[in-house]
């Protein structure tokens, strides 16, 4: 029983090979599960093995000004180095705070009224700090975009007039590359966001707003389509019942457009994550993009391997974000069949 629920849970993540692994491990289904496990687990693993093999063979043939193009082994080595560097930086930070505390304690012991200063540690951000920054930025940008786009999508889908009014603008801005927005956003943020004690860094706002600008469109369009394509019979039901506008919207229009809305949100988040890396690279704003750019400028013999680590991590995080949205969709949407891959 518990195995069965566990299997269902993993199906929600859509990891097919995990299903099969669990089916294999569960006792009631051992006979048929073994061959399926081999197929489901074996094929992706074989593909990954072939990819790694081709990578190491082909990379060895490319000589760059930064040395040989790194193969998988070198990249793995650098991944471990990045972890070590992060741990070293943390240890340094802790030591710094420990020293500061000790010094302040001594000062206070000598003179109870002594002025004690607490300074923040200012070491360079590690790879993992950059990951956290990027995630926070994309989350902020995506959240702002969703809060704007969903209501706009709903009213656009419900009103013909608004749709005609907004559609040309949406179509115009939808294909614009984030990099074109970036200079404008940077200048506007610098001009508008002027405070003595900023809660957010300007660079953070610039990146987040750029992400927002690119995340808006898929959500608006898909929400509007979802709202406007509510089954006519269901709307007739609401007419026969003489449902008030608000009830109709809350009980019929919104639930029925939720699957489309989530499709839009998933597209938006995917675009947002890609946009963010590019924006960080171009604007030198903290985050994974800056890490890549810094390594590129740094030009040591390890730089390419470190960039490749970043590339893989960016891919993994993008995948994780998409799965996360899928999970949310499964939780909130009534239409389980609409969710595929």
């Amino acid at each position: 029983m518990s195995t069965a629920t566990a299997i269902n849970k993993y199906q929600a993540y859509n990891f097919r090979f995990l299903d099969h692994l669990l089916a294999f491990l569960s006792r009631d289904n051992r006979s048929g599960a073994a061959p399926r496990l081999i197929v489901a687990l074996g094929i992706p693993l074989a593909a990954i093995a072939i990819f790694l093999l081709l990578w190491s063979v082909l990379a060895a043939k490319v000589q760059t000004s930064l040395g040989q193009l790194p193969g998988p082994a070198k990249v793995w080595e650098q991944a471990l180095v990045l972890v070590d560097e992060h741990q070293a930086a943390r240890a340094k930070e802790e030591a710094f705070y420990a020293r500061q505390e000790e010094r302040n304690a001594q000062k206070l012991a000598a003179d109870a009224n002594a002025e004690v200063r607490i300074r923040a540690y200012t070491g360079a951000p590690t790879f993992f700090d950059q990951i956290v920054t990027s995630l926070a930025t994309v989350a902020t940008g995506f959240l702002i975009a969703s809060l704007i786009a969903i209501p706009i999508g709903i009213v656009t889908g419900m009103s013909h007039t608004l749709y005609s009014a907004l559609n040309p603008l949406i179509q115009l801005f939808k294909p614009v590359s984030p990099l074109a927005w970036l200079p404008i956003v940077t200048m506007v943020v610098s001009a508008v966001y002027v405070t003595d004690n900023p809660f957010f860094a300007k660079s953070f706002l610039t990146s987040a707003i750029t992400v927002t600008l690119c995340c808006l469109w898929p959500t608006i369009i898909n929400t509007a389509v979802g709202v406007s394509s509510v089954d006519k019979d269901l709307l007739n039901v609401s007419r026969v019942l003489r449902l008030p506008w608000l009830t109709k919207t809350m009980k019929i229009v919104l639930p029925s457009s939720i699957p489309m809305m989530f499709t839009g949100l998933r597209l938006s988040l995917g675009i947002g994550w890609m946009v963010l890396i590019a924006a960080e690279m171009l604007a030198q704003n903290p985050g994974l993009g800056k890490f890549v750019w810094d390594e590129f400028q740094n030009g040591s013999s390890n730089s390419l391997a470190r960039i490749m680590v970043a590339v893989l991590v960016i891919g993994l995080i993008g995948f994780g974000l998409d799965r996360g949205m899928l999970l949310l969709q499964r939780k909130f949407s009534w239409d389980k069949s609409a969710i595929t891959r």
Binding site: D233, N236, V237, R239, V240, R242, K251, P255, W334, D335
Partner: protein
């Protein structure tokens, strides 16, 4: 006095705008229906049966003529004319109970307490024998069960007129027979006026007090009205050998297959009405029917 003029359609005509000018779907449909009568509309695909129903429901407005219910003209949809849709039209994200509740909350707001509403919803689910699935969602129950819930939702609005647009059209013969029996029970108990569209001759004869047979479109109208004077309650098994029943059946069949041949079927080659009356060419008139099964169910049961 009131019973005589319960529901009245007077010279109802409707035009739908098309690219080539207005298309007259219905022409001069007049019908008087007494309170508690069970009426079926029968006719070939595209003859405007659904349009008649939608006009009574208030979902369409007649171009000429009008509908009067209890002395008041029908101008918009309302819960006193509840509709059972062909494809059930339940909200897929709500349970059977919640689907019925949506209507009950709207109709009895301020008239029934919460407990009374709950009781009323359960009562109506009971009426269609769906109490066991009250918390199931539409995708978890069969087609026949969905249609039962659809009927419960309509009945729970306590309508004066129950409008049913081919409610059993998409169901298999056995399920259909069960639902017909349920419907007869409910009609006997509640005495609502019912207008039902069907393609099924047996269904029409079994259920109706009157069968309204419609001519083919365009400009479809009422061809013939057949009074069914079989005693109620009716038993489908007993009726199968009843000469009177079979006489009614053959009357309807003769109307449908001799006097109103299906367009495109054995039509004279010089006929110009083929294209215009093809069911595909007038999607507005018949709604979005995915399947139009003209069923000649000679073998009932």
């Amino acid at each position: 006095m009131k019973a005589k003029n319960h529901l009245e359609l007077t010279h109802v005509s409707i035009d739908f705008p098309t690219d080539t000018g207005p298309f007259r779907a219905l022409d001069d449909v007049s019908l008087k229906i007494d309170k508690g009568q069970f009426i079926t509309l029968i006719g070939h695909s595209g003859c405007g049966k659904s349009t008649v129903l939608n006009i009574v429901a208030g979902l369409h407005r007649a171009t000429a003529g009008g509908v009067i219910l209890n002395g008041r003209e029908v101008s918009e949809p309302g819960p006193e004319r509840a509709v059972v849709f062909q494809n059930h039209s339940l909200l897929p994200w709500l349970s059977a109970y919640e689907n019925v509740e949506l209507g009950v909350k709207q109709v009895f707001k301020g008239k029934k307490s919460r407990a009374e509403m709950r009781q009323w919803i359960d009562h109506n689910l009971e009426l269609v024998h769906m109490s066991h699935a009250r918390d199931k969602r539409p995708d978890e129950i069969s087609g026949g069960m969905k249609q039962r819930v659809g009927i419960a939702r309509a009945l729970a609005m306590q309508p004066e007129v129950l409008l049913m647009d081919e409610p059993f059209g998409a169901l298999d013969a056995l399920t259909r027979a069960h639902l017909q029996d349920s419907l007869m029970e409910i009609h006997a108990a509640l005495g609502n006026t019912v207008i039902m569209i069907t393609h099924d001759v047996d269904e029409a004869v079994l259920l109706s007090d009157r069968i309204v047979m419609m001519t083919n479109g365009p400009a479809a109208t009422i061809g013939e009205v057949l009074e069914i004077e079989l005693e109620r309650p009716r038993e489908r098994l007993a009726l199968a050998d009843d000469p009177q029943y079979n006489h009614y059946r053959s009357d309807v069949l003769r109307f449908l297959y001799e006097r109103q041949k299906r367009p495109g079927e054995e039509l004279a080659p010089d006929s110009d009405s083929t294209a215009a009356t093809d069911s595909n060419s007038q999607p507005i008139a018949e709604g979005d029917k995915t399947q139009e099964n003209i069923a000649l169910r000679v073998v009932s049961n």
